[in-house]
C-alpha cells in the first residue's frame, strides 16, 4: 500500500527541482522562477500535511534510502542517507514548508514588484535553502544531518550575499558562513567521534547511537571511549556537537553573524530566522535529545548558554534604531529560550516554542518587510511613525506578532515561553542551581522582550510620521498582505495546541495536544515519555511542585511591565530616544558588548599577522635554505675553477704534487718504505 511515506522524499526533492529549474532556465521563466518555487513549496506543504496526518495516526518511518559510501571489509561502517519521520519531524516539516511557501509568495511583492535583478539566482537560492532544511529535518542519521546542515550554511551565504555588488552583503555573508563554520568544526569532530564511538550515527532504531549510549551507561554495550569514562566521553561528544548548534542557532558567543545577516533581503531573513537556518541548531538538539538527556553536564551547559543568550540578546535589542536589527536580536534571544527549555529538560516546551516562534517571527519579519517596502527601503525606525493608519493590515498582523513575541496572553508566544520558563523553574528548584540561574536570566529577559518589542511597534506605527516617506508610504499588494494575514492568525491562535497553565487551572481542558503528540509514537525511543525517563534516570532531573499558572502569572506580569514602560516612553506623538539615561550601558549595548570587536580583532589582529609571519618565515627561512644550498655549491664550483690557471707549468707542478701525494700516502698505507 503506497502511503505518504513513499512520497516523503518528494518533500525534499520538489524545492530542489525548483532550484535546478530557476538556476538553469530561470531567466526564461515568468517572474524569474518564482512560480516554480511557489508550486514546489506548496507541493511540499501538501505532502508534509499528508505525512503529518499519517504520523498522527501513530505511524512512523525510519528507512535507509541511499547508500552514500558502502564500507568494504570487516568492521567498517557504511554511510547512508535515509528518512526519519516521527512526530517531531512531521511537525517541523509542516512549519518549514509553510513558512517557505509564504516567503516565496511574499517575495513576489518584495523582490519582483520592486524590480530586483538576478531573480533566478534569488529563487534558486530560496529553493535550495528550503530543500536543504527539509533534508536536514528528515535526516535519519547524524552525518546526513551534518551534510544538509552545511548546505543550509551555504544557502545562507548565497542569499545573505544576494546583493553582491554592494560592500556590506558579501562581507556579512562571509561572516555568517565563517562563524557558523567555526561551530560546525566542533560539530564535525563530534560526528566523527560518534562514528568512532558507536560505529553508527543513526538517530532511531535498534542500532541508534543514543540507544547504544544508553545501554553503554547501563553497562549493556561496549563502546570505544578513548580512555574516558563513558559519561565523560558522551558529555564531550554532546558538547562538540553543541558547537554546531551554538553556531547555527546564533547562541552566545557565536551569535555575532546574525545581526549582520540582516544585509540580506528581508524575506530571506524571515526564512533564516523563523524556519530554516537558526531553527536547525535547536532542532538538532531536539532530534538527538535522547543523547543529551544522558548527560546532566551537557544539559546544564545548554540551559545556561540558552538562558544567558536570552537575556544578553534582549538587552541589546533595547537600543537599536533599525527595525530589522531589533528583530534580529529578538531572534537570538528567543532561540536562547528554546535552548534553555531543552537544557531544562523541557523537550516539549522547547519544541512548542520552536513552533510558535517560527510563525510569529516569520510574521514579524514579513511585516517589517512590508514596512520597508512602504518606506522605500529605509529601515530606521526613527524615520517612521504613524504607519498604523496608512497600512492597517500590516499593522494589525504585526501587532499580533509583537504580542506573541512579547509573551502576552493569549497569544502563542506567551504559552510557549511561559512553559519553557516553567520547566526551568521546577527542575531548577529540585536542586539544580544552573537551571535556576538560567530561569532567572530568562525571566529578566521577559521584561526586556516586552519593552523592545513594543518600543518597535510604537516607533514604527504610532505617533506622528517623522518623515515624508512615512507620511505617504508606498503601497503593498496582496502578495504581501496574504502571507501576513495567514501568519497573523496563526501567531494569535497556535498557542491552543498546548495551554499548560490553563490546562492545570481547569483541570484538563483544553487537552495538551502537543504533549500527547510528542509523547507517543511508533519509535518509542524518540518520545518525550522516554526522554522523561532518561532525564530522570541518567540526568537525575526531578521536578519540584510549582503550579504552572503561578509561574505563568509572574512572567506575564513582567512582560506587561515591559510593554507599559515602552508605552510610557514611546507611545507619544513625538517620542525622544531616552537612551541617554542609560549612560555607559547605552554605549555598551550599542556596541553589542563589543562582541564583534573582539572577534574581528582575533581575525584581523591575530590570525592575519600570524599568517604574514608564517609567510615571511616560509619565504625567508624555509625557502632560503633551499636556495642557499644551490648558491653554496655554485660558489664551491667557482673556487674549484680557479685551480685551472691556464699556465701549463702550474699544471706540471700540481700534477707532480698530486702524484707525489698519492705515492706518499699509499706508500705509508702500504708500508712500502720499511
Amino acid at each position: 500500500m503506497v502511503g505518504a511515506f513513499d512520497y516523503a522524499p518528494a518533500i525534499v526533492l520538489l524545492p530542489f527541482l525548483s532550484f535546478v529549474l530557476s538556476l538553469t532556465a530561470g531567466k526564461y521563466l515568468p517572474k524569474g522562477g518564482a512560480f516554480g518555487g511557489i508550486a514546489a513549496t506548496a507541493g511540499s506543504l501538501i505532502l508534509s500535511a499528508w505525512v503529518f496526518l499519517t504520523v498522527s495516526a501513530g505511524n512512523a518511518y525510519n528507512e535507509t534510502l541511499y547508500t552514500w559510501a558502502a564500507g568494504v571489509g570487516e568492521g567498517t561502517t557504511t554511510l547512508t542517507f535515509g528518512l526519519l519521520l516521527d512526530p517531531l519531524a512531521a511537525m517541523m516539516l509542516l512549519i518549514v514548508s509553510l513558512v517557505a511557501l509564504l516567503v516565496h509568495v511574499f517575495s513576489l511583492g518584495y523582490m519582483n514588484d520592486e524590480g530586483e535583478t538576478g531573480l533566478p539566482r534569488y529563487y534558486a537560492g530560496l529553493g535550495l535553502f528550503t530543500a536543504s532544511m527539509l533534508g536536514f529535518v528528515v535526516a535519519d542519521n547524524l552525518l546526513m544531518a551534518f551534510m544538509f546542515f552545511e548546505l543550509v550554511g551555504l544557502c545562507s551565504y548565497l542569499l545573505i550575499g544576494f546583493w553582491f555588488r554592494e560592500e556590506g552583503p558579501p562581507s556579512a555573508a562571509k561572516k555568517a558562513f565563517l562563524v557558523t563554520r567555526f561551530g560546525d568544526y566542533f560539530f564535525l569532530v563530534g560526528v566523527v567521534g560518534v562514528f568512532a564511538t558507536f560505529g553508527t550515527a543513526k538517530f532511531a532504531g535498534e542500532a541508534a547511537f543514543p540507544v547504544i549510549a544508553e545501554e553503554a551507561l547501563a553497562g549493556g554495550a561496549e563502546v570505544t571511549t578513548f580512555g574516558f569514562a563513558p559519561e565523560t566521553w558522551f558529555t564531550i561528544l554532546g558538547l562538540l556537537i553543541l558547537g554546531g548548534v551554538i553556531g547555527k542557532s546564533a547562541q552566545f558567543p557565536l551569535h555575532t553573524w546574525l545581526p549582520d545577516a540582516m544585509e540580506g533581503p528581508t524575506p530571506v531573513s524571515a526564512l533564516i530566522h523563523a524556519a530554516t537556518m537558526v531553527a536547525a541548531g535547536v532542532y538538532l538538539v531536539a532530534r538527538m535529545y535522547g543523547f543529551y538527556a544522558l548527560s546532566p553536564t551537557a544539559l546544564g551547559i545548554v540551559a545556561l548558554v540558552g538562558g544567558f543568550t536570552a537575556l544578553f540578546a534582549a538587552t541589546m535589542g533595547v537600543v537599536k534604531r533599525d527595525i530589522k536589527q531589533v528583530l534580529a536580536y529578538s531572534t537570538i534571544s528567543q532561540y536562547g529560550y528554546m535552548m534553555l527549555g531543552l537544557g531544562a529538560g523541557g523537550y516539549v516546551a522547547a519544541t512548542f516554542h520552536l513552533l510558535t516562534h517560527a510563525f510569529f517571527k516569520a510574521l514579524l519579519f514579513l511585516g517589517a518587510g512590508a514596512v520597508i517596502i512602504a518606506m522605500h527601503h529605509d529601515e530606521d525606525m526613527w524615520n517612521m511613525g504613524g504607519l498604523k493608519n496608512r497600512m492597517p493590515v500590516t499593522y494589525y498582523t504585526f501587532l499580533s506578532g509583537s504580542l506573541a513575541l512579547a509573551g502576552i496572553v493569549p497569544f502563542a508566544g506567551f504559552w510557549s515561553k511561559d512553559e519553557v520558563l516553567y520547566e526551568a523553574l521546577i527542575h531548577g528548584l529540585a536542586g539544580s542551581p544552573l537551571l535556576l540561574a538560567g530561569y532567572a536570566m530568562g525571566l529578566v529577559a521577559v521584561f526586556f522582550t516586552g519593552f523592545y518589542t513594543f518600543r518597535m511597534v510604537f516607533l514604527t506605527f504610532h505617533g506622528e510620521p517623522r518623515t515624508e516617506t512615512a507620511r505617504n508610504p508606498h503601497g503593498v499588494r496582496w502578495n504581501v498582505k496574504g502571507p501576513l494575514v495567514v501568519l497573523g492568525v496563526l501567531a494569535a491562535t497556535v498557542g491552543v495546541v498546548n495551554m499548560v497553565p490553563l490546562h492545570d487551572l481547569t483541570g484538563g481542558f483544553p487537552p495538551e495536544y502537543l504533549h500527547d503528540w510528542l509523547a507517543h509514537g511508533e519509535l518509542s525511543a524518540l518520545t518525550s515519555e522516554h526522554y522523561g525517563e532518561l532525564l530522570h534516570d541518567y540526568a537525575g532531573y526531578t521536578s519540584a511542585d510549582v503550579a504552572s499558572y503561578v509561574a505563568g502569572a509572574v512572567s506575564l506580569a513582567l512582560a506587561l511591565a515591559g510593554v507599559l514602560t515602552a508605552h510610557v516612553l514611546y507611545n507619544v506623538a513625538d517620542p525622544d530616544e531616552h537612551t541617554a539615561k542609560l549612560g555607559a550601558v547605552k554605549t555598551l549595548w550599542y556596541n553589542n558588548y563589543y562582541q564583534d570587536e573582539y572577534q574581528i580583532w582575533i581575525a584581523e589582529s591575530f590570525v592575519l599577522p600570524l599568517a604574514r609571519l608564517a609567510d615571511k618565515f616560509d619565504q625567508g627561512i624555509v625557502d632560503g635554505v633551499v636556495n642557499g644550498v644551490s648558491s653554496v655549491s655554485l660558489f664551491a664550483g667557482n673556487r674549484i675553477r680557479r685551480i685551472q690557471t691556464g699556465v701549463v707549468s702550474n699544471y706540471a707542478v700540481l700534477l707532480t704534487l698530486g702524484l707525489t701525494a698519492l705515492l706518499v700516502v699509499f706508500g705509508v698505507l702500504g708500508g712500502w718504505f720499511v
Binding site: L634, G637, Q644, G646, V648, L655, L659, L662, G670, W672
Partner: protein, 502 residues
C-alpha cells in the same frame, strides 16, 4: 660457433688492421693527387673504413671470438683479442665513424684534410691496439700511437691560437705523463723481470723487499692511464684541449681516447696486478682508484657547474664522467662481483661514447653556423634548429643520467654494481654528483628552448651541414636505442670483464 675455429687466428686482429689500412689508404689517395682535395671521397673512405671495422668487430663480438674458449693471444701474448678488446674497438670505431662523418662538413674548405682523416684513423688504430695490448711494451707503444696523432689533431687549426695553445698543453702534459708511465713500467719490470701481463701477474706476488718499487711502479702506471682518461691529477690538459681543439676532435678525444685509456687500464690492472696477490702486499690499487674516482667526479662536476662556455662545460663534465667510469676500477674487492661493476663501467663508456660524441658534434655544428660558444649564444636556438636542439636535449639529459635515456641505465648499472660490491659510499658520491650535474646540463637545454634569442630570430644559419646533422642524429638515436637495447650490451660487457678476472 666460435670464429677462430674457422678462420686463422691472426684474423682476430682484423678490426685493428682495418683501421690502420684505412689510414694508409687515405694517405695514398692524397699522395696520388696532392693538389686536388676531394673532401667527400676522403670522408667516405674513412667512414667506410671505420664502419667496416665496426662491422667486423661487432660480428666477432657476437660470434664469440676470443670469448668462447678463452682469449686469442698473438705474437707471444703481446696482443690479446677477447671480449674487452672487441668491445672497446666497437666503441672506438663507432665514434670514429660519427666523427669522420661530421668532419666532412666541419673541414669544408680547409687544407690538409687527408692528413686529418688519416691521423684520426691512426689514433684510432692505436686505441684499438691499447684495448688489446697484452704486454706493457704494447701498452706503451699503442698508447703513444694513439697520443701522438691526437697532439697534432688538437693543434690542427694552425692559425688559431686557441687550437695551438690546446695542442701545446695537451702535448706537454702528455709528454710528462708518458715519462711517468714508462718509468712506472720500468719499475714493474725491475721487480718482475717481465713485461707480459700474465707473467707480471705471477711474478709480482713474490716481489719481496721490492714491494716499495713495485708499488711506486703501479701508482705511476696508474698515473699514465689517468692522463689518457683525463682523471685527476692528470686531467689538467683536458679542459683546454677539449675547448681549443676542433670540436670533432674534442668529441673523438673525450669519447674514444678516454674509452681506450680505460680499456688498457682495465686490462693491465685486472690481469697484471691481481687483487688477491698485490693487495695483501700493501699495494691497494682499488683504493687508489676509489680516491681518484671521488676527487675526479667531484672536481669535474663542480667546475662544470659555473662555466660560461658550453664546450668547456662539456670538457669538465667529461672529466666528471671519467670519475664515474673509474668506479669500474675502484669498486673491486677479492671475490666481489668485480666483473659486473667493471662491465657496467664499460657499458657506461659505450653509452657515453654516443651521447658525448653527439654533444660535441652539436657544438661543432654551432661553430659551423658561426654562433658563439657561451650559453647566451645558444639562446633560442630551438626556434631555428629544433631537430638538432632536440638531439642536444637528449644528450644533455642522458649525460645527466635521467630516464628514459641510455645514460640513465648505464649510470644506474654502474652505481648499482658498486653497491653490490659493497662500495655504497662510492655510489652515493656519484649519485650526489649526478644530481648536481643536472643543474648545468639543464642550463644548455634552458638556453636553447626557454631563453629568448638575444638577436631575435633574424640570423640565418645558412645551409644545413648534412653530414653533421646525420652524425648528430645517429648519436641521438644511439643514445635512445641504448635504453631498450641495454640488456645485451651490459651482459656482453660484464661477461668480457669477468673473463679478465678469471
Amino acid at each position: 660457433m666460435p670464429l677462430q675455429t674457422q678462420l686463422p687466428t691472426w684474423t682476430a686482429i682484423a678490426p685493428t688492421v682495418l683501421l690502420g689500412l684505412t689510414a694508409l689508404v687515405l694517405l695514398l689517395v692524397d699522395s696520388v693527387d696532392p693538389d686536388s682535395t676531394r673532401p667527400t671521397a676522403l670522408a667516405a673512405v674513412s667512414v667506410g673504413g671505420s664502419v667496416a671495422t665496426l662491422a667486423v668487430a661487432g660480428w666477432y663480438l657476437l660470434a664469440g671470438t676470443g670469448q668462447v674458449g678463452g682469449a686469442i693471444r698473438l705474437y707471444g701474448g703481446s696482443l690479446v683479442i677477447d671480449g674487452l678488446s672487441l668491445f672497446f674497438t666497437v666503441i672506438v670505431a663507432s665514434v670514429v665513424a660519427m666523427v669522420s662523418l661530421a668532419s666532412h662538413d666541419y673541414l669544408q674548405d680547409r687544407t690538409y684534410q687527408a692528413e686529418f682523416y688519416s691521423l684520426v684513423l691512426l689514433a684510432a688504430t692505436g686505441m684499438s691496439l691499447m684495448a688489446s695490448a697484452g704486454s706493457l711494451a704494447t701498452v706503451f707503444v699503442s698508447l703513444e700511437l694513439a697520443s701522438l696523432p691526437s697532439y697534432a689533431l688538437v693543434a690542427f687549426l694552425k692559425k688559431n691560437r686557441g687550437s695551438v695553445e690546446a695542442g701545446l698543453k695537451y702535448f706537454l702534459v702528455g709528454a710528462v705523463s708518458s715519462g711517468v708511465l714508462v718509468f712506472g713500467i720500468s719499475l714493474v719490470y725491475a721487480v718482475t723481470g717481465s713485461l707480459l701481463l700474465s707473467d707480471v701477474a705471477t711474478a709480482i706476488g713474490d716481489a719481496g723487499d721490492f714491494v716499495g718499487v713495485a708499488g711506486i711502479g703501479v701508482v705511476m702506471i696508474a698515473g699514465g692511464f689517468a692522463f689518457k682518461t683525463a682523471s685527476v691529477p692528470f686531467h689538467f690538459w683536458a679542459p683546454e684541449a677539449y675547448e681549443g681543439a676542433p670540436a670533432p676532435i674534442s668529441a673523438f678525444l673525450s669519447s674514444a681516447s678516454k674509452a681506450a685509456g680505460f680499456a688498457v687500464a682495465f686490462r693491465v690492472f685486472a690481469v697484471a696486478f691481481p687483487l688477491d696477490a698485490v693487495v695483501p702486499m700493501g699495494i691497494d690499487w682499488p683504493l687508489l682508484f676509489a680516491v681518484l674516482a671521488v676527487v675526479t667526479m667531484t672536481l669535474g662536476n663542480f667546475a662544470a657547474a659555473t662555466q660560461e662556455n658550453v664546450k668547456r662545460m662539456l670538457a669538465y663534465s667529461s672529466v666528471g664522467h671519467a670519475g664515474y667510469a673509474l668506479i669500474g676500477l675502484a669498486a673491486l674487492s677479492g671475490g666481489g662481483p668485480n666483473g659486473d661493476v667493471m662491465g657496467a663501467s664499460m657499458a657506461h663508456l659505450l653509452v657515453y661514447g654516443f651521447m658525448n660524441t653527439g654533444a660535441f658534434l652539436f657544438i661543432a655544428m654551432v661553430e659551423r653556423w658561426g654562433l658563439g660558444r657561451t650559453f647566451e649564444d645558444y639562446n633560442g636556438l630551438a626556434t631555428r634548429a629544433p631537430v638538432a636542439c632536440l638531439a642536444m636535449t637528449v644528450f644533455m639529459f642522458s649525460l645527466a643520467g635521467l630516464p628514459p635515456f641510455g645514460g640513465f641505465l648505464s649510470k644506474y648499472a654502474l652505481f648499482y654494481g658498486a653497491i653490490q660490491g659493497g662500495f655504497w659510499w662510492l655510489a652515493a658520491v656519484g649519485a650526489i654528483n649526478s644530481a648536481l650535474s643536472l643543474f648545468y646540463y639543464s642550463r644548455v637545454v634552458r638556453a636553447m628552448w626557454i631563453e629568448d634569442p638575444v638577436d631575435g630570430d633574424g640570423v640565418d644559419l645558412g645551409a644545413t651541414p648534412l653530414g653533421l646533422y646525420v652524425a648528430v642524429l645517429i648519436a641521438a638515436v644511439g643514445t635512445l636505442a641504448l635504453l631498450p637495447a641495454f640488456g645485451p650490451v651490459v651482459e656482453t660487457a660484464q661477461s668480457a670483464a669477468t673473463a679478465l678476472f678469471a
